[in-house]
Subunit: 365 residues, 2 copies
């Protein structure tokens, strides 16, 4: 059977190893496995979320409220926008797919930094759109602008602020200046999956979705409940944009794209900002330990505005070998070899998890 042409260039995505698989492969007991690979919240989620899920478990036979009005109302209040500025996705991933399907095609390219969130490229390939990237791994606005200008047929530019999997973050003023020079027929997506971490660390990094979309009608802001809110397994994210973009995204949204319990969980998560704040505080307290560890061991690291840190090794070390040795000790981190980097990305864990990471890392270095 022949399939659409673009499938020839698509490789099937392989995610991080689930804990169960590591258990099986190395015969390690689950309580001795530490997963610092997927930037999940090491403290779990808010008790209010757990309660909300339990309270709604008897409604799972009914289709979700497809208007999602309760969650939209809560998000609209949080960001001081209208509910009509909001779309909810099964993770912000899905909102990326709506944007790419609406705007990119085999003639309209997708422009990104060289090393950034993998889904931009995956969704672009699914619709047969070409992806162009800067030479620099980290976001470089001059390079992005030069690529944009030279190419002439860029449909979407993705800015991941802060950037996953590297951790760096552009300043808000520089981002606004950049966007002001992009024509209004090119969509600029500001992926704020880790924005609450960046904004807490340095106010210059903070991007307010309302100011963004009111200043630039050609922008789309993305947020997620998978990170600081601790809902990675529930798959809830959102997009914020003006009327024109929103109308296009809704045309690409399948009905009932978010489960009932996910909607209820996200709503409850928004009601416990204390849980989120404490998690972010722990994150940056613990990150100092990672920075100290790296300095002590003469390992380069990228200053991070997220809940993970990226260590970059010199020629004397091999990131894949280090990842493999850690795995055998029950510690799962993300090797960045597939991104063309000799480095690893580690999610900042609880103090106990981080101590165990440092102990294990000392033995494999």
């Amino acid at each position: 059977m022949r399939f659409n042409r673009q499938l020839a260039s698509i490789k099937v995505y392989e995610g991080g190893k689930p804990i169960e698989l590591v258990m099986r492969e190395y015969g390690i007991a689950p309580e001795n496995i530490i997963k610092l690979a997927s930037n999940e919240n090491p403290f779990g989620t808010s008790p209010k979320v757990i309660e909300a899920i339990k309270a709604n478990v008897h409604t799972v036979h009914m289709y979700p409220d497809d208007s999602m009005i309760d969650l939209k109302t809560a998000l609209a209040k949080k960001f001081d926008v209208e509910t009509s500025n909001l779309i909810i996705g099964a993770g912000s991933d899905q909102v990326i797919s709506f944007a790419v399907s609406a705007k990119a095609n085999k003639h309209k390219k997708v422009l990104t930094a060289r090393t950034t969130f993998a889904m931009y490229e995956i969704y672009a390939r699914q619709v047969g759109a070409k992806v162009i990237k800067t030479a620099s791994h980290q976001h470089n606005l001059d390079e992005l602008y030069a690529k944009y200008k030279k190419d002439g047929d860029v449909g979407i530019i993705f800015l991941c602020l802060p950037n996953n999997p590297l951790g760096e973050c552009l300043d808000k003023d520089d981002v606004f200046d950049f966007i002001s020079r992009i024509d209004d027929n090119t969509m600029v997506v500001v992926d704020g999956a880790y924005q609450d971490f960046a904004a807490a660390k340095d106010p210059r990094k903070k991007i307010d979705p309302k100011a963004l979309i009111e200043t630039f009608p050609h922008t789309l802001y993305l947020g997620t409940f998978s990170k600081s809110y601790g809902l990675g397994g529930m798959r809830v994210g959102y997009g914020i944009a003006g009327e024109e973009i929103m109308q296009a995204l809704y045309k690409m949204r399948p009905p009932f794209n978010v489960t009932t319990l996910s909607l209820k969980a996200a709503q409850a998560a928004l009601e416990d900002e204390t849980f989120v704040r404490k998690g972010i505080e722990n994150n940056f307290e613990e990150m100092k330990k990672y920075e100290a560890f790296a300095r002590k061991n003469k390992i380069d690291f990228i200053e991070s505005y997220t809940n993970f840190i990226t260590l970059l090794f010199g020629n004397d070390k091999n990131s894949s070998e280090i990842a493999q040795m850690l795995l055998k000790k029950g510690i799962i981190i993300r090797d960045l070899h597939s991104y063309g980097l000799n480095g690893i990305r580690i999610t900042i864990g609880t103090p106990e998890q981080n101590t165990k990471f440092f102990e294990a890392m000392e033995t494999v270095l």
Copy 2:
């Protein structure tokens, strides 16, 4: 901003009214509202599902197991296929979207019966594929074959067996004979969302996925947990196909497309076939009452192999008016006016719900 050309022809989907909305609009107390509009299981879901969700609620901060191996293993056992023959979607809807994205495009059309599951057309339009339909509302294999032959560039044929929203079902032997005459570069999708109802009522309707995909490598079978298993709110469905189609579908699947709790719920649902069987038994017992009611009131109906029944009115009645009058009484059913039919589709409810429907319907006729 200009968007991809196909968006011009897409209308935003509007689902059935959620109970909360009807409450608000008509000031009806929730306990007095009966929703027989979305073919949900009127008995809810299995207690084993409720337990499984509660038992896993503390894992929601972690991404789902993207291999979905536990649910795939359970489904592989149920259908006597390999786990590699299975793909899990956020509802079988999502598997439809994978198939359409992989195989249909602006040159390769989608062929369906005139009145069938709306998502075939919605996903086709999203990728810019043209949809062609038979003149008959119900599935007619001669008409489908004639359309297929005449057009010459059909990428996918959808057979909804039994058919939603009309309820009729083709015989398995006729379906196999039809598929044997379709060239192996055209994908034939057998949507079995309501197959367990049909198979229970009449063995001639039963399509075994294993026999289907082994006989015809160009077929894809779809199943869902939203109907008899009572998991409409959890969004879990699946596709079963041979290696070639499966490889293409996986290229279009986004990672983590099903939530952790949905995977656990579906797995638990498979362990309680008694719950499913009892629901199906109630369904056909109660359906007899609907048939008797229709005959008594001289209303035409389509013999149904599903968990709903479609009533068709003559010129003396108007389906939209009847739906509106029922709504004011707190009973939500589906008006088929938008399908070009003067009829309504009613989900078979519990005995109590059905009695209330008959009472209300008597007053509006």
